[in-house]
Amino acid sequence: MENKKILIIDDDQAIVKYLEKLFNNNGYDTILAHDGLEADDIVKETTPDLITLDLDMPREWGTRFYRKLTKKKECKDIPVIVVSGMAGRDHSIKKAVGIFGKPFDPDKLMATVKETIG
């Protein structure tokens, strides 16, 4: 069976690499985006099983990407986990399956991922 795919969206290259390695080590495939606009292009072509989303990013805020995502029929059910230094301050990501402030606990993050997509 194919591995589940996680789309990582974060403007900080180092954190993208961190999450990528973390998910790969736990048996997930990853797709990387450095901001919401890049992520837009990605979800046009492929449907990830889960998305981790940073909020505070240049060019476009995570919340805006999220709003656009939930408007698309084929994307609106993709579970989203917020991983952001701004977590807790924003209430527009109501349907997120998890909200993690930075720095996050990788074990708890992995637990949420496993619980959500197996």
């Binding site: 403007d11 900080d12 690499k17 390695k21 940073d54 990013m57 930075k102």
Partner: protein, 381 residues
């Protein structure tokens, strides 16, 4: 009497010399310095030169009457208290004078008691007004201090928020770096160790920079001015930047010319100011994925009085909102990477050098900074 010490000067206006003379003596006995006038014109002239706090004027006089004098005086200085002298049957005029804010009126023939009571009333009003002004002023001062304190507190609040946001990002990077090193070690993918170490090294550099920025902000010090060889100085700045862009695909050009330029500056501060701007140029280039190659040009020119530093980049450029806010403390367009300190500090340092900083930027095209400082430092006037 005690209150009269504040109100030494009185102008006395009456067209009848006898009355003037008698009143002048009485008032002088009460401790006033009396200036007597026989008509309105003379009275107003005296009023303007002597600036008394009290005027006593007859209400009925040929030419300019007492009411007109009263209106003129109240118009020129509403704080002056005017006592009217009325004859029998002048009730209407007396009431009219009260409307124009005379403090009191006394009826001829003037008794010393009536005069004293009117003067007491005038003096009390003057003292009350003075106290009220003092209270108002100290209240205003308190309010000003309170609002300054609030401003400080709220900017402190924003600062703590901004710093802790920055620290959260940096801690996550450290976690990430450590995780990558550990993972490479556990999976025996030793080639990957370098990736984790690079992140750790870069993060430590950022933490250092952030701490220095905070220290600069927390402790503003006077400039340590010295004569600096500008080419050498700019060379030092360029080396730092060249090291930073070492492994990124950005060309860096020095355009320093041949002129030997000397400039009076605080080299340490000014170094930080330029580095902050050049750092932004690097970020603007790395962030821009629309162009194949990127270039930063760092040039130096001079005119008669100034040294001019110019920094061009063909990076991502700025939108209008960013352009308007770049020098504001805590404003950042760089998401989790920015603290909003950099250009605020640069601007501050350049201002301290009595210099100017101008920016021109077009979104997607690039940004141009022009920094001009006088070769001879100009002392604050």
């Amino acid at each position: 009497m005690a209150i009269s010490e504040y109100t030494k000067k009185i102008i006395l206006v009456d067209d009848e010399k006898d009355i003037r003379d008698v009143l002048e003596i009485t008032l002088a006995d009460m401790g006033y310095h009396v200036f007597a006038a026989g008509n309105g014109k003379q009275a107003l002239e005296l009023f303007r030169t002597e600036m008394p706090q009290i005027v006593i004027t007859d209400i009925k006089m040929p030419g300019m009457d007492g009411i007109e004098i009263l209106r003129n005086i109240k118009n020129e200085n509403p704080d002056t208290e005017v006592i009217m002298i009325t004859g029998h049957g002048d009730t209407d005029l007396a009431i009219k004078s009260l409307k124009y804010e005379a403090i009191d009126f006394i009826t001829k023939p003037i008794s010393d008691d009536a005069l004293e009571i009117a003067l007491k009333r005038a003096n009390e009003k003057i003292i009350t007004r003075r106290q009220l002004r003092k209270y108002t002023e100290s209240l205003e001062k308190l309010l000003r201090e309170k609002s300054e304190l609030q401003d400080h507190l709220s900017s402190l609040g924003i600062m703590i928020g901004s710093i802790s946001h920055g620290i959260k990002g940096l801690l996550t990077r450290l976690d990430g770096g450590v995780y990558l090193v550990e993972s490479a070690h556990t999976n025996k993918e030793y080639d990957d160790i370098g990736e984790g170490l690079d992140i750790l090294k870069e993060t430590v550099t950022r933490i250092k920079k952030m701490v220095l920025d905070i220290l600069y902000y927390a402790k503003e010090r006077d400039l340590k001015l010295e004569k600096v060889n500008v080419l050498q100085f700019a060379g030092d700045v360029a080396v730092v930047i060249e090291q930073k862009i070492d492994d990124q695909h950005i060309e860096f050009h020095r355009d320093f010319g041949q002129d030997n330029i000397e400039c009076e500056m605080d080299a340490e501060f000014f170094h930080s100011a330029l580095i902050n701007i050049l750092d932004n140029a690097i970020d603007a280039c790395t962030e821009d994925r629309s162009k194949a190659s990127h270039k930063i040009i760092f040039s130096i020119r001079q005119d008669n009085e100034n040294v001019i530093f110019e920094i061009h980049d063909n990076g991502i450029g700025m939108d209008t909102k960013t352009k308007e806010n770049i020098f504001n403390l805590f404003y950042s367009s760089k998401g989790s990477k920015g603290t909003g300190f950099g250009l605020f500090i640069s601007n501050d340092i350049i201002k301290q050098h009595r210099g100017t900083i101008n920016v021109n930027s077009v979104a997607e095209k690039g940004t141009y900074f022009n920094i001009k400082i006088p070769k001879q430092h100009i002392e604050n006037k």
